[in-house]
Symmetry: C2
Subunit: 515 residues, 2 copies
C-alpha cells in the first residue's frame, strides 16, 4: 500500500517571527544556569502557551541560548519585559533594554542516544559528538545532564567510546597550538588536600628550558584548586593571547582554565557528576585528557594518589584507571605516564588557597619550615615529565629537577612567571583562628582526607581565600594530650564556629594508636 | 592495633541555632520546585558560607523543606530577607514577615542506594523505602531524581523490587479506607488522545449500585487528563471528606487526585520521567498501582491501548507489562485485569478538555452524533470491572453496562455526581477555529496520535480549556480533496497560528492510501 501525506499545504506561513520582549537583568546569580522569568500574563506566554518550567530558546542578534522559563505572578516585571539570570544575560551579551526573541525549543535529538545507552545500546561516534555539542552550547537541562552522567555510570564506556567521548569534548571547544614544540603537562587525578605541586613543577620545568603552559581549574568540591591558590599570588584570568605571551617569554604559565574555552563541556558535566557523586571511568578519562589535548600537550604525567579516603582507593583500581588513561591518550598521540603515589594523608601543611600558597612559596624559597613532602612530590613529578619528554636521561629527571629547585632557579622562574601574569603578591592571613587539640597522648594512625577537606570548606575555603586548615601532625607522629593537631583559619567568626562544630561532631576524623 | 578518636571534646557547643531571616514571597512560580533567594551579602550567606545553587534546609515552626538557594546580587531583597518561590512558600505555610531558619542540608544517605543501583546492585526494600520517603518530602534535587529514574531504566527492577517500590510509594502518602466494601477502579495505561472513558464508566458502574471513588490526574504531557476534562463540567478539587461525602451519596465521584496526598512521590517522579521521556516498567507499575492501592481499590480494570504511536507499541510488550501489573497487584490483594485495546487512532471526536467533555456528554445523553467508539469502549471497560468484582455474571457485564447507558440511568447518575461535587456546567466553545483540509482524495490510512496530540497542545490545551483538535475523519474513511480532516480550536489567534504552523510542517501526521 503506498501512502502519501494527507494534509493540504497552507496558503502561506501563518505565524510571524518569534515574539520579542525587552530584556531586564534581575540580579539573580544561578551560576551557569540560564533562566528566563516572564509574567504569566505577558503576550509571549499567552500566544505561545509557555508554561512555567518550559525549556525555551532565546535569541539576541546572532547569539542563541536555551533557558528554563519560570512564571512570575507578581510585581517583579512588566508584561513587556523578560527577566534574565546573570548567566543568561552574559551569554546573550545583553545591555538593558535590548529586545530578545523567545521561541519554543525543539526536542533534542541527541537525548535519544542517551536513552539508548541507558537501555543498553552502545554510543556511536556521531552520537557522542551530538551529545557533547548540545551540552557545550547549553541545550541540555539539568535532568538531561544527569541522565547522561547516569548512563555512563550504569553502562560503562568501552575503550573506543572513551576515545570518541574525549575527541568530542576536545572538538566542541577551542584549541591551543604550539607549532611543533614539545608541550609538557601534569595533572593530579583525585584531589588530595594540600597536594599543590603544580606551581612548583611548572617553575622547575620552565626553569630547565622546557615549555609548560598550565591551565588549571578552580575548586568544585574541594577547598582549593590550583587556580584558587595561584589567584592568591597573582592574576590568573588570562585570555589566550596573554597565555601565549607569558609562555613565549617564560616557558610556562599558571592560568585559570575557565578564562579560555578548552573542553567547555567538561565544566558542565563535572558539576553534575560531583552533585551526584557519580564517578564513571569513561567520563573521568575524557575530562582529564580533553583539557590536556585541547591545551596542546604532547607529554603528560599524571599523579594518582591512592588511599582509603582518596578518590582512587586501591592499587588495583589505580592500575585499571592508569591503563585506560594511557590507552586513550595514545589515540591522540599524547605520551602519558601515570605515577601512583601515597594518598593516605594530606600533602604539606595548608589546606585552603592562601595556606597552600604559603606552602608553595616556602618550598620554592627553600624555607627551613617548608613541608618536605610537597617539595619531594613536585621534584618526582617534574623529573618524570622531563624524562617522558626526553629532556632528561632515564633515571636523571628527579636529580635535574631537585638541582633546579635547590639552587634557586625554580624560585626565580616562578617570580618571573607571576610578574609576567601581573605581579607576585603575599598571601593573606586569616583573622580568626582556633587550634584543635589532641584528647590524649598517642601516635597519629589515621587521617580522613575527605572530612578534613570538609572542615576547610566549612571554614570558608575556597571563596574565603585565607580560610582553611593548617595541619600540625602527620601519620606516625607522637602527640601529647592537648597538643594542637591542626588549626582552623576563617575570615568570619560564624564560619569559624561552623567548622569547629563539625569537628566536634567528628572527633574520629583523626585517630590515635597507643603511643 | 586499637584506634581511638584523636580530637578533644570542645568545652561547649560553638555555633548557635540556625540563623533566621524574614520570609518574603517573590511571586515566582516554579511549579513544585522549592527555591530560596538570598542576598549574597546577607548575614546567613556570610556566616554559613552558602554558595549559589546550594541545597539548604528551611524550617518554619514544625514544617521543614529542602530548597535550592540562588544568590540575588541586586535590589530584589534586603539583607534581612529571604525570598521564596510560590511552592516553597506554600509548603512552609508562611505569611509575610514570618521568620524562617536556614541550615545546611546533610548529605542524603538514600542516594547511596541509587548510585549502587546504577553500578548494578539490587535495591533492598529498606533502600526503596528511604528513597521514596526522601522523594516525597522534597529532599531530592532535580538531578538526583533524574539519577533515580535513569537507574530504574538502565537496571530494570525485578518483580520483588517492583512490589517494594509500589509499597513504598503507597506508604509515604495518605490512604482511603472503605470498611470492607468492594471498591472498583479503572485506569488507562498510556494516553490515547480523546480516550475519555472514565466519566462514562464511573456513571455506569455507580448507576448499577457499585462503588467507584475515582481520583484522576491532570495532563502532564497530554492535551487533557480526566481531571482537566471533568473540571470543564464541575468542581474537581475535592478534599478527602468531600470525596467521602459524594461517594457515600452517589457511589462514585470524579475528583482530581492532586487535591489529596495519594502516592505523592508519584507526581514528583512522573514529571522527571516525562521530561526525560524515559519509561521503565517498574516505575510505570509502581505509579499506576500505588495510586489505586492508596485510594482503597479492590478490583481494577486496566485499559491498555496498543498501536505504533501509542505508549505500548506491540502485543508482545503489552503481554509482558500486563503480567507484571497483575503480579504486582496480587501482592497487595488488588484483583486486576488488563484489557488490551486498539491504539491505532484517537478515540471520539475531541482532543482537549472541553472537546472531550462534549464527547462524554454526548455519549451519556445518547446524542445521535455521539462518537460510538467512545461509548463502546466505556461499556466494555464497565462490563469488565463489573465481572471482575462479581457484580455481573461472566459474559454479562457488557450487556448490563450497555443497558444502564441506553436507558438513561448512567446519564442520571452522572448529573447527580456532578451536582454533589458542585454543579453541572456546559463546556465552552473556542472562539478561534480553523479547519485543516485534505490535499487530495483518498482513504485515511494512518493517524499519528502523538503529533495530533501535539497540535492540540500547541493550540493551548489543557490550560486553555476550549482549545484542542476536533477530528472529522477516522481510519478507513474515504475523503475528497479539500474535505476537512480536523478542526483546530484555540482561545487566542496566536495559539491558533502556532498550531497551524506545526500542522503545515507535519503534513504526514495523517496519511492517505489510494481511494
Amino acid at each position: 500500500m503506498s501512502l502519501s501525506d494527507a494534509i493540504a499545504p497552507p496558503n502561506a506561513a501563518r505565524a510571524g517571527p518569534a515574539p520579542a520582549l525587552r530584556a531586564r537583568r534581575l540580579g539573580i546569580d544561578t551560576l551557569d544556569e540560564t533562566v528566563l522569568f516572564l509574567r504569566r500574563d505577558c503576550p509571549v506566554c499567552r500566544s505561545e502557551g509557555f508554561e512555567s518550567r518550559a525549556t525555551v530558546r532565546l535569541r539576541h542578534g546572532p547569539r542563541e541560548i536555551v533557558a528554563t522559563l519560570y512564571h512570575v505572578t507578581d510585581h517583579l516585571l512588566g508584561t513587556d519585559e523578560a527577566g534574565l539570570s546573570d548567566a543568561a544575560w552574559k551569554r546573550l551579551g545583553l545591555t538593558d533594554g535590548d529586545r530578545i526573541e523567545i521561541a519554543h525549543q525543539p526536542p533534542l535529538a541527541s537525548m535519544g542516544a542517551v536513552r539508548g545507552k541507558l537501555y543498553g545500546r552502545r554510543f556511536s561516534e556521531e552520537e557522542l559528538r551530538a551529545v557533547l555539542a548540545d551540552t557545550a552550547v547549553g541545550r541540555y537541562s539539568e535532568v538531561e545532564l544527569a541522565a547522561f552522567v547516569a548512563a555512563c555510570s550504569a553502562r560503562p564506556l568501552d575503550a573506543e567510546e572513551t576515545v570518541w567521548l574525549t575527541r568530542a569534548m576536545v572538538d566542541v571547544g577551542d584549541r591551543l597550538t604550539w607549532d611543533g614544540r614539545k608541550i609538557l603537562d601534569k595533572h593530579s587525578v583525585g584531589g588530595l588536600p594540600g597536594n599543590r605541586t603544580t606551581p612548583i613543577v611548572v617553575a622547575i620545568v620552565a626553569a630547565l628550558g622546557q615549555v609548560m603552559p598550565k591551565t588549571s581549574s578552580r575548586a568544585i568540591t574541594s577547598p582549593a584548586g590550583t587556580a584558587d591558590t595561584m589567584e592568591v599570588l597573582t592574576r590568573v584570568d588570562l585570555d589566550l593571547p596573554e597565555i601565549r605571551r607569558v609562555v613565549e617569554a617564560e616557558g610556562g604559565c599558571l592560568a585559570w582554565g575557565g578564562g579560555v574555552r578548552l573542553s567547555p563541556a567538561d565544566d558542565i558535566l563535572i558539576r553534575v557528576e560531583r552533585a551526584l557523586d557519580l564517578d564513571s571511568q569513561g567520563q573521568l578519562v575524557g575530562s582529564v585528557l580533553s583539557k590536556k589535548i585541547a591545551a596542546g600537550a604532547t607529554h603528560l604525567v599524571l599523579d594518582m594518589p591512592v588511599g582509603p579516603t582518596a578518590k582512587v582507593r586501591s592499587r588495583a583500581a589505580a592500575a585499571l584507571l592508569a591503563q585506560r588513561l594511557e590507552q586513550t591518550a595514545a589515540a591522540f598521540g599524547l605520551k602519558t605516564r601515570v605515577l601512583v603515589s601515597d594518598g593516605t594523608q594530606p600533602v604539606g601543611r595548608g589546606i585552603g588557597p592562601a595556606l597552600e600558597a604559603r606552602d608553595v612559596l616556602a618550598g620554592l624559597k627553600l624555607d627551613e619550615q617548608a613541608p618536605q613532602d610537597l617539595a619531594d612530590r613536585a621534584v618526582a613529578l617534574a623529573g618524570a615529565v622531563l624524562e617522558l619528554a626526553e629532556a632528561a636521561l632515564a633515571g636523571q629527571g628527579a636529580t635535574m629537577a631537585a638541582a633546579a629547585l635547590r639552587d634557586g632557579r625554580a624560585w626565580a622562574k616562578f617570580q618571573r612567571i607571576c610578574e609576567a601574569q601581573g605581579a607576585l603578591r603575599e598571601p593573606p592571613l586569616a583573622p580568626h583562628r582556633a587550634p584543635v587539640l589532641a584528647g590524649r597522648a598517642g601516635r597519629i594512625a589515621l587521617i580522613d582526607n575527605r572530612r578534613l577537606a570538609r572542615v576547610a570548606k566549612l571554614a570558608g575555603a575556597p571563596e574565603a581565600k585565607a580560610a582553611g586548615v593548617e595541619l600540625h601532625q602527620w601519620l606516625g607522629n607522637p602527640v601529647a594530650a592537648d597538643e594542637p593537631l591542626f588549626t582552623v583559619h576563617a575570615e568570619t567568626p560564624g564560619e569559624l564556629a561552623y567548622a569547629l562544630d563539625y569537628v566536634a561532631a567528628n572527633p574520629d576524623l583523626m585517630q590515635l594508636a597507643e603511643g
